[in-house]
Every structure is written in C-alpha cells, then in structure tokens.
Assembly symmetry: D2
Homo-oligomer: 370 residues x 4
C-alpha cells in the first residue's frame, strides 16, 4: 500500500508524471459534504507551476475530473475518485536519464527496486506532480474541517537560510487566509522578497535552494490522538514524509527542545475563561500523542530541488562508469513555496481521519442508549 495513507479516510494517489492521468481515490469521506469547486481550484492553484518566474514553465490546467463519489456537488458516501489528465508532456527531455542516474532523485533506487521496469519519465510515480491529486483530497478535507471550525494554514518559514516570522501563539483563520492569498506564502513580505531574491540567484547559477514550511491547525478539540504509535505526531509524520523532498518533521519547538531545559520547555498550565490552556506552546499542542487544545504546530524541511542545470557527477547504469550529467528539461529552482499547500493538504487529511476516532474510547461513548 505504498501510495496510500489513512485508516478511516484512506487517500490513495496514483499515476506517473508522463502517463495518461494522475489521480486520487478517497475512501471513507462522510456523505453529504459539499465540495466547493471554486474554492478547491483556488487551493490547487497555490501549488500550480508556471505562476511566476520562480517555477517551471510546464503549464498544466491541473483541473480535476470527478469520476465518482459526488452527486449534485455533495459527497455521496461512495469512494471519491478524481483524475487530472496529463497534457503538456515532453518525454524526450528525459531520454538520456534512463541510463544516467540523476543525483538526489529516485532514478537509482527505483531501478534497483523495479529492475528497469519503472516508468521514470518525468520522475514517474515519484514526481512532485503527484502532489496535485494530494491537493484535491486535502482541499476537500480542509473544507470539511473548516465547517467544523478547524482551520489548517501554512507558510514558508525559511528559504535558503532566510527566516519568516513564525505563526503567533494564537493564529487566526484570517491570518491563514491572508497568507494563502499571497503569491509568495510568507507572513513577513520583506523576508519573502529576500527569499525570492535568493531563489532567483540560485536559478541564475543553475542551482536550487530548499526551505522549511511551518503548518498550524487551530480549532482542534483537546483529546484527539492516542498514546504511542497512533499519536498525532506518528500519524502526521507518517503522511508528511510521504511527500517527495521532505527530509525532516518536527512538532512544536521540535529539535530546539533538545537544547532547552525542562523548566524552559514545559508549557505552564493556566486557566483562561474557565478553560485550561498553556501560556507557551513549545509542545506544539500535543502531549503524549494527544492534542491539548492549543494550536497544533509542525515544521517540515524541504530539500533543494535535485534537478539543477549545473553539471553533476554521476554514473552510467549500462556501462558502470563515471559520467558527467547535465539535466535538461524544465525545473523549479525551489519547490518549497509550492509545497506549502501540499503540507496543508496532507495535514488536513490526517486530522480529518483522526477526528473519526475522536471520542471513540471515551467513557460511556458506546454504552449509552442512543
């Protein structure tokens, strides 16, 4: 089940970059949920390539066709399948790559695994293009969550070593919307300009840069999750590491917690309007794998795009000798900004999935007549 995640709401992604279509199958969505197509397309547009000088010139409508699961614009209980046909494909760009392994890509590992039978044109099933159907599933999950008062937002918190301001202790839905509407998803536009300059500078050199995305979810009930391996961190990390190019995931202050003392890191409890809250949120809203009602926060590291124009050292599979490789084709000097909605999408799917289990093992939940 390599390309699937979720227990209650199962999201399965399929397709190869240069195949006939890519798509997503979502099994388990509640019936009767309206899918606002305009909102969904606006969400998907946030990851679309070709919007500005920072991205690949490959143009894709990326408009999903729904084959099943909807009736009159509402989910009907049956599994939802949406596909995106692959239009603008130039496979010849990739011909040379079949023998020369691209550093930083899955060319070699896919070859070892599938013995040359893999369809690696354009990265095949490993392509970042597979994040488009993830955004279909995640965009729908975000709409369902929002109706329940749960909002998921993200921004670029770091690119090429340049930092954006982090989300405040109490982020708002409005803040999420503001960032989402920006062409470059940062809180501090001045930092954003510096990031863009760094990306363009890398592009000029034929190189690329990476970044870090911060994501938050607000409105989650306390008590979501479970101890140990079904905890919030376990489930989110499992899905987030499935996104191509993600190499690190942390919650709350994450790795920085390792440098804190306990007295700094522990979030003190206090009463606020008769609710139990914490005065800091170093734990990212999660204790013992379970939400505490504070904003859930996480960060994911996106590695620099492995496709660069600079010549690279590689090997020839057939001749077993060292070669120089120059990757042609259209590539992004940075994918971190386009990955922002993808992180939101995957986070939203996981949280929606987990909400199905919320309350299930609360005392009395199953035992009162009802």
């Amino acid at each position: 089940m390599s390309s699937e995640f979720g227990a209650n709401i199962r999201v399965s992604v399929f397709g190869q970059s240069h195949g006939r279509a890519i798509g997503v199958l979502v099994d388990g969505l509640p019936a009767g949920e309206r899918v606002d197509m305009e909102e969904l397309l606006a969400f998907m547009a946030r990851r679309r390539p070709g919007r500005n000088s920072l991205s690949t010139s490959r143009r894709e409508a990326d408009s999903p066709t729904f084959l099943s699961g909807l009736k009159d614009g509402l989910t009907c209980g049956a599994p939802l399948c949406a596909i995106i046909e692959n239009g603008d494909v130039r496979s010849s760009d990739y011909d040379e790559l079949i023998d020369k392994l691209r550093p930083g890509h899955a060319d070699y590992t896919a070859w070892v695994k599938w013995g040359g039978r893999a369809d690696m044109r354009g990265g095949g099933h490993f392509s970042g293009r597979l994040t488009a159907p993830l955004c279909v599933a995640g965009g729908i999950a975000k709409q369902i969550l929002a109706r329940k008062g749960i909002h998921v937002g993200a921004h670029l918190v770091e690119v090429a070593g340049i930092s954006d301001s982090p989300f405040p202790l109490s982020p708002t839905p409005e803040l999420f919307t503001q960032v989402a509407e920006k062409a470059f998803p940062v809180l501090d536009d001045a930092a954003g300009e510096d990031m863009k300059a760094a990306i363009l500078k890398a592009a000029e050199k034929g190189d690329s840069v990476g970044g870090v995305i911060e994501c938050a979810a607000i409105g989650l009930p306390a008590g979501l999750g479970a101890p140990m391996f079904d905890g919030v961190e376990s489930q989110l990390a499992h899905a987030l590491f499935g996104i191509p190019a993600i190499k690190g995931v942390e919650f709350g202050v994450g790795f920085a917690a390792a440098r804190f003392s306990g007295s700094q890191n522990n979030d003190p409890f206090t009463i606020e309007e008769n609710n139990i809250v914490t005065t800091t949120n170093n734990c990212g809203g999660i204790l013992g794998g379970i939400t505490n009602g504070m904003p859930l926060t996480l960060r994911a590291a996106v590695k620099p795009t492995p496709s660069i124009a600079l010549p690279q050292r590689s090997v020839s599979l057939s001749r077993r000798e060292n070669v120089e490789l120059v990757v042609k084709g259209r590539h992004d000097p940075c994918v971190a900004h386009r990955a922002v909605p993808v992180i939101e999408a995957v986070t939203a799917c996981v949280l929606l999935d987990m909400l199905y289990d919320y309350d299930k093992d609360k005392p009395g939940n199953l035992t009162q007549e009802g």
Copy 2:
C-alpha cells in the same frame, strides 16, 4: 491500535507504569530464530534506570519472562509474548498529581481523552517505562538483522547543546559495539564528559535537559522501501514518534538540507568496486523513500524530562484554578542517553518489518516457478 506498529512484524506494547506487568506481543517473527538471552539482557541493561548518578533511583530487574513464541530458545512461528512484572512501585508519590496537572506530561490530555478513568500512576501507559518491552522486541529484531549482516547502532549526538562527533560516512559494526559498551553512549568521550557535567548541573538546579540521538543502519540492501507513504522515512518516523518524548525526526542532513543548495545537497554517484555508491550521504541512504545501499542515518530529538523538582505553574482540575506544583518522586534529569537503545530497538523492528516486503514487487519475483 494505538500501541502497535508494523505490518508484517507487529509489535504491540501493553501495561501501565504501576500496574501488574508491562509487556510486548510480537506477531510475525520468522520461525527458527535463536534468541540469545544474555545478549538481550545486555541490550536491555543499556536503558535500565539506576545505573549511575544520572538516572532515577528506581531499581528494576527488567528481566522479561517469555510466555509464548519460543521453544528451546528458538522462535516457533507463533506470536511471542514477553512480560516484565512491576516490582518497585511507590504509587503514593503520585497521589497529588491526580488533581494537579504536570506540565509537559500527558496528565491533562489523558484526562480529556479518558475522562478520569486513565491509570496515570507513574505516567501509566504513557510512561517511559513502556520502552522496556520495546527493547525486548527490538533486541530480538537486532539479533535477527545482525545474522543477515544488517547492524543498527546509535549514540547521543547532542545533549544540552553539546555535540558529539557524528557517525562517519561508513560506520562499522565494531563502532556500534564500542558505543554500546560505554556507560555513556557517545563517540567522543570528552564531549560525553561535558554532557554529563551539563546533566548533573541541571539536576543540581532541580531542572532537566534534552538531547538528540543519531542512529544508523548498515548492511541494508538497496531497494528497500517504496515511493510515498510506505517509504522508509514514513515508516520509521511513524514508529519513532511513538516513543515518549520524541519531538523531531530527520533523515540524512534533515533540516540542514533546507539550507543547502541543490549542488551541495545532491549526493554524487560514483563506481566503487563495481558498485554504485555516493560520495556523500546527505540523503541518509534514502531516495524516493527507498534505500540506496548507503548507511541509513536519522536523528531524533528528545525533549528535556518534564518531571523537574523546580516549582511550576499549573492548575487544579477539580477547582479550576491556578496552583503551584512541586513534583516529587524519582526522576531522571535527562532521558536522552537511556533512549539511545530505544531508538535502536524501534529502528530495528521497522527495518525487519520492511525486509519482509523486500523484493516482493520485483519483476519475476512471483512468476518464476519455485
């Protein structure tokens, strides 16, 4: 299935810190595998408390009793169950805590989830004590992997901001053994002395510190794993975040990759003794979710022990008012060093589980007469 992980080899942990026993059930182990009890107990001793001045004074034999799954010292195919009886328990230390929430612990979230029915004495099922049965499963997995030439090792790469040397590009089984035999698991003993000093200093102040663990696996075949959500990173992160106190997981250079350029981060391929290897290992041995034959490397952030002797701000559940809390009982000023074998254990279980799927979808695997 909150306390279970694995698809082929399922590891289920049970028990509460102050209950009758804790234990582990391992379903799916191959038959005929010898369990070297001496080696297993030596492995478990590495996480045992009470070894030195750095750890809680709670004494536990932690010696597992095997109820099933073994015959004449060999696995017999049937599920293996091992339990550890809870001996040295002083529950009265925890009486006050039922009402006063300990910051940084799961007291509040467990209370929200289970409405006061949770057995939170000593941290209950959330206790770090549950890592002992994890080490039973992981110690057995390590023995099986070692017979196949796969070795898993780990060390403390950072405590309180003090860094140990990282694993070299090509770590050896001997290096792993050396570190495992040390009372304080670091590569650079001078750094280790500084770390110990920092831990003791925190302890004197009634405070605690955290750390970072680096883990590596060598001897893995290339081609292990799968694209997207069943990738090596996804499966390892899922299990590692199930260990109490882990707040961040990264592979290879991890978050640092976000600050690299693509030309720095890409690992160049080269031919070495007719094998395809890379000259650096920034990807931690994983590309596209699949191993490339280089050492698998990961780091996990351990937060500072939340139980500290310093007075803390908290709330009373019953009175819904702010209170000051002083946590009594026996606590470690740092758990990162004791977590080193736990990270190894969980990593070993996940890798053994994944090896079952190795080759399964290779061409011809199922289609040649056998």
Copy 3:
C-alpha cells in the same frame, strides 16, 4: 498479523497449548467500562472442558489474570492484557505425533510453514485451547454491548444431522440467557438429548461428530457496516473463520437462498409502530453489507473433532512412508457445543469494533460544531 483481528478494537491471541501461558491483548476498548468478573467467569465456563462426559478430561481453571488495562475493575483506556497459565499439561501424549501426521490437524501444514520449528505439542498455537482467551475478549465485549442494549446469543442448531429449532424471528435477551444457562446449549431439549446420544455413540466407537452453530445479535442499530469489503458479512466471516474447526459461514438463510426464488427470498418491508421492518428475515438482518435493524443471524459449521481413537492412515515425515496412526491423549468426541460461546465471543468483538465506525460517515457527523 496472523493472530489478530479488528480495526478499532484489536484482539490479539497468543500462546501455545503446552507453553507457559496463553492470553489475549485487546487494544482500543473504551475507558470506564466495568468488567464484571463473575459474569466473565460464568461465560468462560461455558466453553471449559471437563464439565461432563462429552468433553475431554483435561481440567483447567481457565481463570484469567489481568496484567494491564484495568483499574479498580474498570477499563482504563490502555491496552488490556489477560493471561491464562497452562497448568494440566501432559506433553508426553504427543511425542509420537512429531513424526506421524495427524489427519485433519495442522501438523503437516505447520511443518511445511515453519520447517519443524513449530511448537506443536497439544496442537500448539493451532489448539482449540486458544479459544479460551478469545472468550475473555468476547466476554468483555458482550458486557459492553449489553449495556448498549445489544445482545448476542447462540445455540447448537445441528449436531450429527440432528436439528434444533432455529431462533425465532424476534429473539429476546431472555431466550439467549436461557440457552446460555443450559449445560447443553439448545432451544429444544428433546433435540438436545438426541444430539448428546449421538455424540456418546460416536465416542464409544472412538469416532467424533461435528455440528452447526446459529448465532444472533439483537438491538443493533440499522446502518451499521459498509458496502463491499467492509460489510458486516465480510468482517464477521473474516474473524469467524479464524476459529479452529470452522469450515463454513452463512448469513440469514445462507446457502438455502440459492434454492429460493427471488419472490421467496426478498424480505418484504412493512411499517410496524412507525418503524420500517421486514416481515421475514431471510437476509439475516444485512442488506448490501449494512444492518437493517432486524436480528443479525449467522450459522457456522464446525467440523468433527479430527482427534479420534480409531486407527487412521497417515505418513511418517522422516521416513516418507505410509503408517498407521493411533492418536492417544484426551479428546472431545464433539467440540461444537463448546464452540457456542466462542462464536458469541468473536461475533461480539467484531460488532463492538464495527460500532466504533457507526455514524462516522453520516452527513453532518463531523461538520456540526461540538
């Protein structure tokens, strides 16, 4: 995960017949559920051997020890583990069997699978004895379901070709209790006497007989289950076929439906006290994999005990030659009557598991502010 079933409430059985202990791990039970020990032991007594002349003379207290998951007699949210120590074991009875394969048993298939490493003393992990821990889990599930108004009952509907009356169209909890309290679980005691006579007659000849168990669940809400592979039939059959000796499972009229015409088999709808009910229940309360509110009914076929005293044709594994086998040891001439509570137990576990998913994908379920 060979010895585990369930998605939300996972039941894992472990142990070998002549090992140290057998037991069950139940993960996912709601917190705060009282376990009535007296009731549980009474339920378990229904499958216990040695009650009368019809059963093996092996005596087992079969009294479970709870290692985890309970606090003050209530479930505490953490995984529940209960074990039963193996007392009265006479392994020498089985010595000859290591080489001579017992027809109808798993001796040969276990040997092929585990290459001689299996612990097959007394049937090992394949033994009917493993149904005792299943009854611990199922007995608890039955108590939880009963508090919700859902009752599961079963009886022997056929032994050696002799039929008991089937459950009426609207069975009651009282009827279930009546049957459960009988030493021989039938509705029609005259039929029961005939069955017992047939069992004793087979026993005298050194032979054995099989039977069919009918099980019903009442009080289930309509709308439980899902289309296709997570339907009620799929989930129940999956678990029921995991019970040793079960060779057939049918729902409603089952195989007889194949001989009905559509006009006979379709259950007409009618309004009764403003509820939608059916005037017959040929579908066993399930349409399209989903409950319709009528009693759920199923039947399971139990094969005759393979251990018989008559000489049998077999082979010697080591010598690869035909041999005559005479099975010694203590054996039941029929296990069908002892399997009645086991069928109830497994059915109750599956239904409790499925209730967790009830309502989850109903319109509005996740989208109203809570």
Copy 4:
C-alpha cells in the same frame, strides 16, 4: 476502507452504477508483469451482460482504460488504475425507487447510513456493475498466477436446486479453460440445460433464481496462509462476502462436514511420488488456515436477483406507509452464472496477495546472506 481489500496487493473499487465511470485501483502489483489485453477482455466478457437471453439487455462495452501502472504493456511498479466509462445509462427507470424501498436491495440500509445523500441510481456503489472493475484486477492476478503455475477456475455447481458435477479431486488447467469457454459455465452440459430452463421459467414468471458457485485453485504451494485470523479461509471469505449477493461461503465439504463423522471427514495422508498428499480432500486443501498442497476448493452461495418484475410489498420512505412496488428496468433473472468469473477474480487477487507473504516467516528466510 469499505471498498478495498488486500494487504500487499490492495484492490480498491470505486464508482456508482450511473455515475461518470467505475474503476479499480490496484496498488502493490510486482513490476514487469505483462498484461495480455486480449486475454483480459475475454475474461471480462464472461461476466458481461447482454450475451444471451438470460441476461439484462443493458449493453456495455466494459472495456477498461488504463490510466496508470502500465508501461509498454507491462506493470511498472506504480499503482495501476483502470476505469470503465458508464455509457448506456437510463436513470429515469429508477426515479420511483428513491421513495419506495426495493426489497432485497440496499436502498433502505444505504438511506439509513447516508441519510438520503447516497447515489442509489441503478444501485449506485452497491450495484453488481462494480464487479466489472473487480474482474480487471482479478483478470490481471489470474495471468500473473498462471505464469507461476497456479490456476483458478470456477463453475456453477447449483442453480435453482439443479446440481452440476463437482470439480474432480485433481482438476486440471484444461478443465478450467473448457468451462471458461462455455457460454454457460458448467461441467455437465445436460445439467446446464436444466439450469437454463429453470432460469427462463423464472424469468417468464417475472421471478428470479439463485445459485452456488464452486471455485478451485491448483498449483498452490503447501504452507500458504497462517493460523487463526490470517488463515486462507479468513482472507478469502472476507473478500468473497464483499461481492454483492453472496450470502454463504464454505471450504472443502463445508457445512456437510458438520454431518460427517471424524473418521469420514479426516483426509488420510499418503505418499505419492514421494510427495505427501491426501486421498480425499474434504478440507478443501486447507488445514489450520494453511494450504496443504491439495486443490483449494470453496463454494459461494449467490442469492436470487432481488429485482423481480412481480409486484412486491414495500413501504414509502416519505409517507411511512405500506405500498405495492413494481420494479421496472432491465434485470437478470439470475446473476449466478455471471458471478462465476467474479468469484475467480476475487479468489485470484486474494491468493496473489497471500503469495507475497509466502515463506516470509520460514526459518532462515531472512537470515541468510543474500
């Protein structure tokens, strides 16, 4: 995951009868497997409606379009998605049914579950039409199995009480092919003529009939499966009960075993050409959940088509009153003969899935250097 089955090879079915398309997603197929399209279409033709006077007049090309997972006619390791567009749809036939519940269909249970949001036109996701994509997955699985020497075949063993000859003790691939090539899939054509006459007679009366399908798999290695809940019977029954209209599943002699004595039912072992075989096959090739190398045999009961032309008693959902219902539209007087390839398809998918786990826990399997 209601519409999905399989652990290693996951088969997910999607679509509604009158939606845009139906389809199947298969994740986990080995790379490099050729899909013979001609053979696949021939297999699918066996379940297609409109072939003769016995079936609905709905005409469907049922020709699948492959969106992903294939390259140059071979599987490429990535998930395979195939869709079938819905062409010949006459939804108006079903307008009345939205309020009047069809007995024997899922109309009522789907309405309870999804509160009126279900797309029940033509049976929606519950339609027998969803078995077409199952045949795409199963047809591919059959091709892969055949290359490994494993063959799956089935026939109608009973219709309306008329019996076909059962499969012989040692069925051959040629026998399976012969039956598959017949327009009416029976071994004994005289019995087939009687069955067809019974079907036509029911059709004339506006009624319908059911049947029983016998399926066998030959060439399976001994040792496939596992004790208890991952046994062959458990996994096959789980998937088979997911097929619409299946109400009973039995293995070997199944329910008849309950009427046998142990001495009759036990299959004696004997040596044949140095192999261990049994002289009878009452167990259907499965002991303790594990294959013994004899042919695997099972039977599945298909209920009579619930859509009949005769007037039926029903209720109006909106008015909560009894009504008479006359179902219009095109319906089969029997679906059992069309279900024969579907049973083969699902059986093949499950067996291919299980083969992935074959050998995995054999001694030495993971521990020898590879």
